[in-house]
Symmetry: C2
Subunit: 576 residues, 2 copies
């Protein structure tokens, strides 16, 4: 009893599901429809194609064994019929057909299905501002756009670029322009920080600092209000609320939204923000219609709410699960934790679960630890400091999220992935304290950074560690009048502390080396709030315990220490 399977969408979830279906039900007829001529490509690779790391766009749509994933390949190798340049116009759920239009001939026809998969993906959000139609304004919505962008740069037509949108794609495109092509690039983000809602503000500030070190001009908290042209239809710049930035090329990367019009018009349940509702089998509200990839609303495993998670990796996982269920093999998609990682020049930034800001907004008893450990044994050559923030709920002790910022290697990836697996299982701080990270000096520290982050979280939960609010501390550093009774207790090496002591005076900046505090704690005043500062925060906690034991409970720890605030752009902090 062969069945007809129709899949709408040929980029990630669609092809994955089609191939899996043919492996489970080799005799079934599987048809993939896509309105584009280019299918089955690695969209996440576009920035690496634009920058030149990937020389030919064909690499993005080839297999690992160097076969081009085009219609002929899917037919011969996979037994899957692909109809490209074919637009799905409407779904007739009663008649079980999809009305399609051949975009070359304009001819319309009906394709019958027994089961249908919607893998329609996402589309770029367009800002409703003047000038969006000017020549030289691009989204990075598909491979055609990428090819056009690269062509302009390679031909030397681009001296200045403006990227609108400080999400992953915007940042990756800014890197591509600056790093390999030497294009003078500005990045504009209307939210007050880069990677809003994904990364908390202080890690985001570290990323911004690094982008600026790499000659990307970053303007956060600024909206693009108009795209400017030369009168002949070519782009010349971008106007924001605060300035005008010249540009030969403008990238609009202000986000994507689910492409779900077909589903909505067919009467399937779609969330207000456009995500197609699916159950854990990836069935829509019509049991013969499934959906997978960027177009769905999935469940966030931390909040329990609907989530939009447009990642190529998830699209692949979901495609396989949808195919299993369509083929009659029960398979379960639990939902997402929102794992995220990106390269930004020489740095890596990643996260999983939810941010502190989100956790507060969701009503958790949210708190966080902020640490600055070494990414491998501190004596191993090439080790580097990495910043982690672990978000947790003080009441349940559940870990809600983990974020990391550090050098461009796989070290953060290891911790984010580990955390993702644990958070999906509802793990607590205790689970993170004991998770058995493989140790050898070239790979990690004996006390792994993820264990260390959990230790600090544990100490905070237990009331052993009292920390200062970072935003408040930075404000105080800019204006000592804000917190007249605050003093820094700098426990770093005297050489590291000396310049700050000289700059701010002993009234504001008291220096007692870490290993002398036990003997010299009588020098610490009790009528001031002592903000304890070291390199990473660990010694500050030890000193807080010592002061507490001496009856001086007036201290707060600067978690992450100078390693954190220096990376956030506090460049006047002395020391090596």
């Amino acid at each position: 009893m062969n069945k007809n399977i129709v899949i709408i969408g040929g980029v990630a979830a669609g092809p994955k599901a089609a191939c899996r279906l043919k492996r489970l039900q080799p005799a079934w007829n599987v048809t993939v429809i896509d309105q584009d001529s280019l299918i089955s490509y690695g969209g996440c690779g576009i920035p690496y194609y634009v920058c030149g790391d990937v020389s030919d766009e064909k690499e993005l749509r080839s297999t690992s064994y160097h076969m081009l994933r085009d219609e002929a390949f899917f037919s011969a190798a996979k037994g899957v019929r692909v109809l490209s340049k074919t637009k799905a116009l409407a779904i007739d759920r009663k008649g079980r057909t999809v009305r399609v239009e051949n975009l070359d001939s304009g001819e319309q026809s009906e394709i019958p299905y027994d089961k249908l998969l919607l893998a329609t993906g996402s589309q770029s959000v367009n800002l409703p501002i003047p000038g969006m139609d000017l020549d030289g304004v691009f989204t990075v919505a598909n491979l055609h756009k990428a090819i056009a962008i690269k062509e302009r740069i390679a031909k030397g037509q681009v001296a200045k670029a403006v990227v609108v949108g400080g999400g992953a794609i915007g940042i990756e495109m800014a890197e591509a322009f600056t790093d390999l092509w030497g294009v003078e690039t500005s990045l504009v983000e209307y939210m007050p920080q880069l990677l809003p809602r994904i990364i908390d503000w202080h890690l985001s500030a570290m990323l911004k600092t690094h982008l600026e070190e790499k000659n990307v001009s970053v303007f956060t908290g600024e909206s693009a209000t108009e795209i400017l042209g030369d009168g002949q239809g070519r782009v010349t710049g971008v106007r924001t609320g605060k300035r005008t930035l010249a540009a030969d090329l403008v990238i609009m990367a202000v986000g994507v939204r689910p492409r779900s019009e077909l589903a909505r018009e067919a009467g399937l349940h779609v969330t207000p923000w456009g995500g197609i509702k699916v159950n854990h089998r990836l069935q829509t509200t019509d049991p013969d219609i499934y959906a997978a990839g960027d177009c769905i609303a999935t469940t966030h495993l931390v909040t329990g709410k609907d989530a939009f998670a447009p990642f190529g990796s998830l699209a692949n996982r979901e495609g396989r699960i949808a195919a299993d269920n369509m083929a009659g093999r029960a398979s379960y998609f639990p939902g997402v934790v929102g794992s995220y990682i990106m390269k930004a020049f020489d740095r890596c930034i990643g996260s999983t679960g939810i941010s502190y800001e989100t956790a507060l907004a969701e009503g958790f008893a949210a708190d966080y630890s902020l640490t600055a450990p070494a990414d491998r044994a501190h004596f191993y050559p090439g080790e580097a400091v990495v910043i982690y923030q672990m978000v947790f709920d003080r009441n349940t002790r559940k870990v809600l999220g983990l974020q990391g910022f550090g050098m461009m290697n796989d070290s953060i990836s290891a911790r984010i992935d580990t955390a993702a697996g644990l958070i999906a299982k509802g793990a607590t701080i205790e689970d993170f304290m004991t998770v058995e990270m493989a140790y050898s000096p070239p790979f990690s520290a004996a006390i792994d950074s993820i264990n260390a982050a959990a230790y600090v979280a544990d100490n905070i939960c237990a009331g052993l560690l009292r920390k200062v609010d970072l935003r408040r501390f930075l404000a105080w550093m800019e204006d000592f009048g804000r917190e007249p009774d605050w003093v820094v207790l700098d426990i770093r090496h005297p050489q590291e502390a000396a310049a700050s002591v000289q700059r701010f005076g002993r009234e504001r900046w008291l220096a007692i080396p870490y290993n002398e505090v036990r003997q010299r704690h009588q020098e610490v005043p009790v009528d001031k709030t002592m903000i304890i500062l070291c390199d990473a925060g660990t010694r500050s906690f030890e000193v807080q315990v010592v002061l507490d034991a001496a009856g001086k409970k007036n201290s707060l720890v600067l978690c992450g220490g100078s390693n954190v605030i220096r990376r956030m752009g506090v460049d006047w902090l002395s020391g090596t």
Copy 2:
């Protein structure tokens, strides 16, 4: 009500527990006893000190903020009293004292305790063979030995070295000698493979191949039977059952065992192999005596049995948990999964959970997937093949272990760590199929290698994928008479397959390119067993499905494909 805490052992678990105790109970008296003069060092860093990556042994016993962790440091900074060169002779449990000897003066005394922690570590196993006392024969038991070894090499006294023992330390020492010092090095292991009981034989064979590429002579399945001398007490070589190897330096690295004599003599419960029995609070059978680190018997979370897990990272974790419980703060140590990782020249090898061989021995319905994916997006520059083996139970679908072999970076570390977290929670193949690895082309493939390994495991469990036994296949390649009805179906690119077809003839080696099999399956004979070969095994599985659907169910997949067998040393296999 201050308490006296005595900790025996000052390397890893001991100092960690001491410092944690002082943070929880600042007023308590904490004393650490160690028979050595050097304390609190990173023993796992010894090979990197010997090879020169770490220039000064002091780096191994310094903090990340460059303070030497000696007695004065522990006293001033931590408030911990350290008695080095002090040997614990006996525990009087009734009187709650430890009898100690000052090794300088010979003076004995009693130290009273309210609670005692045994952190006595492990000691090198000595082989009962002649010549062990010769000058130039070393264990890597402590920092003194390491300093002596490096001194000899640095002085040019070592042209040839023999390392006895193919575990991590042996391999790391062989690398240290060969890579930086150019010492002609042989490695002897009495078991038939390197890293026995940790890694399965085929991944171990890949490691051996790589060591040999790096000019280490590896002799597995050979016992060292005698250490040879020059008559003046200096070592000249090592005799094995099969050969005599010249050596100016011999490293004995045949393993370690718990140092638990004190515990045994005090009447505490100790396992037959010497591990001090502890509960999940790390209490011994005397509730006032705790134990942590290499000296304990912990619980293996996969087998449920007693396990010996002598890792510096675990010692640190255990030290913290013991301290919490000693200080009256309930803390739970669940046990171990045995995470393991090491650098070997340009390669990394790691594992967690149990091996296939162990799983069979433990009575699991054990099976495994063997995969050869790319460690990041296949189009991203510098991507490389990595080999994973996932061990699972066919009945429960629980994942029992994961092993990886690949390039020297943190990519395997990420997958091993993720797996460790999941395996500790009893995760199934489904959990590994959906674990949300953070994706971006510089870090991973859209279908992450850990997800891919689980997919193959799923296909094996479901009976969709039938694989050939690797050992049997390799035997057949050496002697076609063994399996007269076997034929390879080589589905790689014709240029890759050509040389093998020519070498073995079309009777034994049938080449049909992957994307032509659907059209040409009538060429595949039904009276032979077809062993399907590709690069990585994934296409072979697809072809098996196609042949099955055509009614030809006589095929077996070579999991991991040519990527696996080439890394195991099959160098005549043609292709790029």
